[in-house]
């Protein structure tokens, strides 16, 4: 008897068949208890039909959505608490800021935990986990040595920190838990990191060239072009952060729109693989590579 070879695409067909009955009931909530209509103790469902526009607004502008539907008290438990948080964070930012801070804390906790986990395992004869992390470290060390030169190897921790933070942030979008989103989807996070990168560039430019030569650099090639040079320096921070923000936000919107069009059957997995895993890794790498290149342009002669 010949054994039938297992085909990879059969997995997707099986998933589709399993998901089909669930996907038709996506807009319904299951309750257990006494049914208010009949008075019997049983399972019963209520339906909340949502349009695509409402789904997008709930995902990307949670405060506006909750206020329009009048459920803004339900997020914090009471409307009084919501008002208190709104006074603290600002008008219309109570839920969005809370969600952002929550995911940022998740990213920080992941790396705090991993740091202690690795520190425990440091040995002269390396264990498996130590080798895995040393591989990542030495890859970025080689990158820094290639771009900046052997004597500036101490930039490695900064560069590696940027990469690991952005990469972990982008990977958070892959976890299907409600409320977990990429922190980089909010413009404030990439913009803050872009400003940090530009400040680092200018600090080391002044340290390397001296303040006189640094200021003279703005008057090149002619002295009245100084405002243009200044705008060029500012646009570094804007372009580096908008690139990351636009990629992640665009990917998230495309995933949401396409997967609600196909009723969340199978296709979101492939979309998450491309926009979450591939684009997230590439953009994290590009952010670190560009901040490294900006430093190299100022420091190398």
């Amino acid at each position: 008897m010949k054994k039938k070879k297992f085909k990879f695409w059969m997995l997707f067909v099986i998933f589709a068949i399993i998901e089909l009955p669930f996907s038709l009931n996506l807009d319904k909530t299951l309750h257990i208890g006494t049914n208010p209509k009949t008075g019997n103790f049983s399972f019963w469902t209520t339906s909340h039909p949502m349009t695509l526009q409402q789904k997008i607004e709930e995902e990307f502008q949670p405060d506006q959505y909750l206020k329009e539907s009048g459920e803004h008290g339900s997020f914090y438990g009471s409307e009084k608490l919501y008002d208190a948080f709104e006074n603290f964070f600002g008008e219309g930012k109570a839920v969005g800021a809370f969600k952002l801070i929550r995911v940022l804390i998740v990213v920080d906790l992941v790396w705090l935990f991993l740091a202690f986990y690795i520190r425990k395992a440091l040995l002269r004869i390396p264990s498996k986990r130590q080798i895995a992390f040393e591989l990542v470290y030495s890859f970025f060390e080689d990158l820094v040595v290639d771009t900046l030169g052997k004597e500036r190897i101490r930039f490695t921790p900064y560069i590696l920190t940027i990469f690991l933070f952005i990469w972990t942030s982008n990977m958070l979008g892959l976890i299907p838990i409600p409320g977990l989103m990429e922190p980089t989807r909010n413009l404030n996070v990439p913009l803050g990191m872009g400003i940090i990168a530009v400040i680092v560039v200018h600090y080391f430019a002044i340290k390397h060239k001296g303040i006189g030569n640094y200021l003279k650099g703005y008057a090149e090639p002619l002295f009245f072009l100084a405002p243009l040079n200044l705008i060029g320096e500012l646009s570094k921070a804007v372009s580096i952060s908008f690139r990351l923000f636009g990629n992640i936000l665009g990917g998230a919107i495309i995933i949401l729109v396409v997967s609600s069009l196909v009723n969340f059957i199978v296709l979101p997995v492939g979309l998450n693989l491309f926009f979450g895993l591939f684009v997230g890794t590439i953009q994290a790498f590009v952010f670190t590579m560009l901040s490294l290149t900006y430093i190299a342009v100022e420091i190398n002669d």
Binding site: Q61, G246, Q283
Partner: protein, 81 residues
Amino acid sequence: MQGMEFVAKAAALLGSGICMGIGALGPGLGEGFVAGKACEGIARSPENANLITRTMLVGQAVSESTGIYSLVIALLLIFST
């Protein structure tokens, strides 16, 4: 939604479509060109494949930024009008 507001919303949606369509042209051409050149480079000197791929990715990301700007503008047009 009445009168002028309706017209403004319709114009914003149309504008965002045109913005995304034209804005995607340039980065698409540029990235394809860079990838093709990188292929030629790797075929000529396979020992430099790592360096070429890294430089290609950074170059593509930089040329992609105009497309990302048009995406941000299109999103602003859709959501803020």
